[in-house]
Symmetry: none
Subunit: 290 residues, 2 copies
DNA sequence: AAAACTCTGAAAATATCTTGACACAAACCA
DNA sequence: TGGTTTGTGTCAAGATATTTTCAGAGTTTT
């Protein structure tokens, strides 16, 4: 266990175990905006974290600071110690561990990948893709390789809520024909394919393209051979210090695309979500309402 | 208006020319203790600088901040920019498009989430978790909810290459019993559970814990109720400008964990990968060698 | 050297913040 | 299901903080 006087950030992170739901919401906000969140008034913090002011005060008290001013004072002191040192350390997580720790190396790589990936995206292409996926006349299919299929799965799970007519295609040869029968010209196939491009996937894309489907490809910087058949293509950076490639950048792309589609189809989507909510409610599927 | 908003420190240093004697004394104190001096109350600052409180207020007003609170707010904002790592702020890709474009908003949110998530991880806990997952004596099971199951799937897909004895558990009530029979004391269950915590998942965790399994939980900042049974817990930030939560930070956690496990078991893993490679080769599964 | 002006701090007025009391709602338990 | 506990927000009182007012000290001007 850590020493007695650890920094406030850790203290809060640790105490989160024993907190109530609203308090966690507050604590989470504080940690995400640490330490600036604690420099303002109770009221400001409460509003920003979307809780009531007594909740803020109570948390400060529970944590053993006399009250909010006490907590604030502690933060200021900690900040003073941190700011006095000449070079304000830019990498916060790097402080705690050597640069050689896997966490830091991985984090650096991932952040770099994301920056590079996002910087390369053509906004017009992105918007056009979102519109294609939002078009209610088209059905949407998604597929991927051994590694990327879970992303396609994730995509369809969410898209099925956003709009009707969304299916996951597993790239297993004998499962295609029926699915392929369903595909009409104008339908959209979203394909994830990163290196060690699999024959299965390429074949599936080819068949879909033959049937007149619009193919959207999410691949790596070396570009899958399926690109030949793709209307739109996005390349994500995937290299990390590991024997495998990282799919994080793909994931970000997918989530961003879904957010864009969702905002295009908001009216329809909102009503679908509401209905789904009702179904879950009746099935007591989740822990509690809220 | 002062469109050219330089930093406050310089602003004060420059204005010192035009100040009165007492004001200079105050300004000098502020500069010597910048920025901490400006985080407290007027009274504290006045006392510390040995001037009166009206002097403090007057200075703040003269400098063109509405009053002391205005100055304080400005300092906090400046501080925020300084304390948040530059990576979190959009630099390059933001130029190409308006800030309101989904791509930028999402990118900002995701990078912020990653930073906050990684900053909160306890390295000792991370290392201990990796060791648990690398222990060949223990079998590994992974599961997740409706949204997070693809991540568990992704995890098992990779882990199966890294080591033997890895299984995905789908949280469907009638599919548990056989899998549960397999579980022995000391086995490890990796659970993904983010909000709208599902009853299924909680039940599965409870059963596993009863059987003596070590539970590792990857959840959100509000913490799944399954935490009660977890040996180790990691909280990932998940909020993005969308109707859904983002699983990107979870994904990063998983990939990082796998990289750590892989480096612990490298010898075994390398030979397994080699054998797998041979199998793929014979099945002509991939496009071409490389 | 007196008058006018400027600067400063004491003190009061005003605004804002913090925190306790309470009531309602949700979760838990029997 | 009904009773009990726990958690959360509203409100308002009390505490602090900020700002204005004003008088006197110091400085400059004539």
């Amino acid at each position: 266990m850590a020493a007695v006087t650890q920094n406030i950030e850790d203290q809060i992170a640790q105490a989160i175990e024993t907190m109530t739901r609203t308090e966690r919401q507050l604590a989470s906000y504080i940690l995400r905006h640490y330490p600036v969140a604690l420099l303002g008034s109770v009221t400001q913090l409460a509003k920003a974290a979307e809780v009531s002011s007594p909740t803020v005060v109570r948390l400060a008290q529970k944590m053993g600071f006399g009250g909010y001013p006490g907590l604030q004072q502690a933060v200021r002191e900690e900040l003073e110690a941190r700011l006095v040192s000449p070079l304000a350390k830019h990498d916060r997580w790097a402080e705690a561990a050597p640069d050689t720790h896997m966490l830091n190396r991985f984090a650096d790589a991932v952040l770099g990948n994301l920056q590079a990936t996002l910087a390369q995206i053509d906004h017009a292409q992105f918007d056009a893709t979102a519109e294609l996926l939002a078009d209610p006349e088209r059905r949407i299919f998604a597929t991927g390789g051994r590694i990327t299929l879970p992303i396609a799965d994730y995509f369809t799970t969410h898209m099925k809520v956003i709009r009707p007519g969304v299916e996951l295609l597993e790239p297993v040869s004998n499962a295609w024909p029926p699915a392929m029968l369903e595909m009409r010209a104008g339908d959209v196939l979203l394909v994830f394919d990163i290196r060690r491009y699999e024959n299965n996937v390429l074949q599936l894309v080819e068949m879909a393209a033959d049937q007149g489907a619009e193919v959207i490809l999410i691949t790596d910087p070396w570009v899958s051979p399926a690109a030949r058949h793709a209307r739109y293509r996005f390349s994500a950076q995937i290299e990390v210090p590991s024997a495998w490639d990282s799919t994080v950048a793909l994931q970000v792309l997918v989530e961003t695309l879904m957010a864009a589609v969702q905002s295009l189809t908001w009216e329809e989507t909102a009503s679908r979500m509401k209905r789904l909510e009702g179904l879950y409610e009746r099935a007591r599927f989740f822990q509690r309402g809220k």
